[in-house]
């Protein structure tokens, strides 16, 4: 199997990472060599194996839904790349 430029463009769309033609070519090469190495898994028959989703054999716990950090809005908004006192600002999405 080989990953072509069309597939790279498709993955880049899904990943929300813009990729120009030159970068796409490099990525295709890298991904093909990595997947060639990954294909080794096909040597194994795994029809009857149950997938391992977590090594921590505990069930998820519930905790009460309490607010523990109050009044940190200002601090949080301060990390926003575009300054505004109360909101996160993004490019216009509605015409």
């Amino acid at each position: 199997m080989s990953i072509d430029l069309k597939t790279i463009k498709h993955i880049s769309k899904l990943s929300r990472i813009s990729v120009d033609d030159q970068k796409a070519e490099k990525l295709a090469n890298d991904l093909n060599s990595i997947f060639k190495f990954i294909e080794k898994l096909n040597e194994l028959k795994t029809d009857k194996v149950l997938p391992l989703t977590s090594v921590a054999e505990t069930s998820l716990k519930l905790r009460s839904d309490e607010v523990k950090s109050n009044n940190i809005r200002e601090q949080i908004v301060k990390n926003s790349p575009q300054d505004n006192e109360d909101y996160f600002v993004v490019p216009k999405v509605i015409e």
Partner: protein
């Protein structure tokens, strides 16, 4: 006391407790040495003046019952530190200032330690040489132009170079043990669920663990005892009985059964690694351990499995970096364009590569063939260990298939870079604890490490084995201070 930075953590703690030295004196020495060591590029963010302030404050009212009284410590820049920039080695978090503290670092400050600064690492902990950091590569104190390993490369360099008495790293596929091995230091990757992941910048959530990196096994045990706590803020934190590892540390390992997995004798392994392993086996025997040959039949499938599971989880974890709420933002014509440019300019090449792999293996039509397949093989790998632990108490292997390599040597070949983690990755996939201890040198004089893998939650046992072997090995790190003018 001019040789303060040469002392181990345990010695410093003892000297502070006996009032032979103050926190301020110690902190000053480590700050001075760190300042003279800029060439190593071990730090991303320095916090020296506030470290000195905190040390002075500690001395005014010293609480000598604490485990790390007034000890200055620098930490990997993957741990969120409240009000101190946390970058994960990435441009995309270049200006991110957390509003909260990670549980692991909070545990360290609660025991009296003061923060020296934040240490360099591969971008989002993705790398084995510290060359993917946005803040530049790190020098290995062992030799100029030698990588310190990765992803906790700044941490390893800082401990080996004595810029900090001890540190913490994170290990997703070998990121503590491989750099420890490359720098002649000790690094422990604890059992999954032992140390809280709360406040650690996430890479692959089912594999990530924080752990100590130290000059010796005793220091490592002491820090593990501080950082390993149950934490309700991490839903995979496990509530088990944690030992006081440093107090219960013993070099009596008589009768312990240590397994030697034949599958770790990989094709093309240099003879010096094979020799080192044999030497390790002999040391373990000298300590009274019983050596047993075992088989971990799916070992060669661990790396391919890892390179599906880890990128898949990473692609999902890193979806949050969109330029909206924090971090770097690129200008775009519209919202989608802004996202795509932000991520394209904000992430480095290796991170983009892994996001793309992860997105691909999770995408429609490929999920079963790749991701589900990898999860099944992961089960087989874990079963191998479960089976082996019916016969043995621990497993001994080399830490890495080679000593440290030159900066730039493997940068353009992702697969050859990934092969560095061949002996460490299975341990993460199975969620087990593993420790790397320095055990010898290669022909160039570069350090080589041995890895001891334990049963889940059996940190004490592998620390004890490491402690006993450390005594026999009597390793001396060759640090010449070449970077200090």
């Amino acid at each position: 006391m001019s040789d303060i930075t040469k002392q181990s953590l345990s010695e410093l703690v003892k000297n502070i407790k006996n009032k032979k030295v103050s926190s301020e004196e110690i902190t000053k020495e480590f700050v001075n040495r760190s300042e003279k060591s800029k060439e190593l590029n071990a730090y991303i963010t320095e916090d020296y003046s506030s470290a000195l302030d905190k040390a002075k404050k500690f001395d005014q009212k010293p609480n000598l019952d604490l485990k790390l009284p007034g000890i200055p410590i620098a930490v990997k820049d993957l741990f969120c530190t409240k009000n101190i920039r946390t970058t994960a080695g990435s441009k995309i978090l270049n200006n991110f200032v957390p509003t909260y503290e990670s549980t692991v670092t909070q545990n360290i400050w609660n025991e009296g330690a003061v923060l020296l600064g934040k240490l360099n690492c591969d971008e989002f902990a993705m790398g084995s040489s510290n060359e993917t950091s946005f803040f530049g590569n790190v020098q290995n104190p062992i030799d100029k132009n030698l990588v310190p390993g990765g992803s906790s490369g700044g941490s390893a360099s800082a401990v080996a170079g004595q810029l900090t008495p001890i540190t913490i790293g994170t290990d997703t596929g070998g990121s503590i043990r491989q750099p420890a091995s490359f720098t002649g230091t000790v690094g422990l990757k604890p059992t999954y669920g032992s140390c809280s992941r709360y406040g650690i910048v996430a890479f692959a959530s089912s594999l990530d663990q924080a752990g100590p990196m130290a000059q010796n096994v005793k220091d490592c045990a002491l820090l593990q005892e501080v950082i390993s706590t149950y934490d309700s803020k991490d839903s995979t934190s496990i509530n088990f009985k944690r030992n006081e590892y440093s107090k219960e540390l013993t070099n009596n390992i008589k009768g312990k059964k240590i397994g030697i997995p034949k599958e770790y004798r990989v094709d093309g392994m240099p003879k010096e690694i094979e020799d080192l392993w044999q030497k390790g086996i002999n040391y373990a025997k000298d300590c009274g351990a019983e050596i047993i040959d075992i088989s971990l039949p799916h070992t060669s499938y661990a790396l391919p499995t890892y390179y599906i599971v880890a990128p898949a989880e990473a692609s999902s974890n890193l979806a949050r970096y969109d330029g909206v709420k924090y971090g770097f933002r690129a200008k775009g014509e519209n919202l989608i364009d802004m996202y795509e440019k932000t991520r394209s300019e904000g992430f480095g090449a290796e991170v983009q590569r892994r996001i793309m792999i992860g997105t691909y293996v999770l995408s429609s039509g490929y999920y079963d063939a790749y991701y589900l397949k990898a999860q099944k093989v992961r089960k087989l790998i874990k079963n191998d260990f479960d089976e082996a632990y019916k016969k043995v108490d621990a497993i001994l292997t080399p830490s890495t298939p080679s000593a440290a390599f030159k900066i730039g040597e493997k940068k353009d070949d992702p697969v050859s870079m990934y092969l560095n983690d061949i002996f460490t990755v299975p341990v993460n996939l199975a969620g087990l604890p593993g420790i790397s201890i320095p055990a010898g040198h290669d022909s160039k004089g570069y350090p080589l490490g041995l890895q001891i893998i334990g049963k889940a939650f059996d940190e004490q046992n592998i620390l004890n084995i490491a402690y006993a072997m450390e005594e026999k090995i009597d390793f001396k790190n060759k640090i010449t201070d070449w970077w200090i003018k």
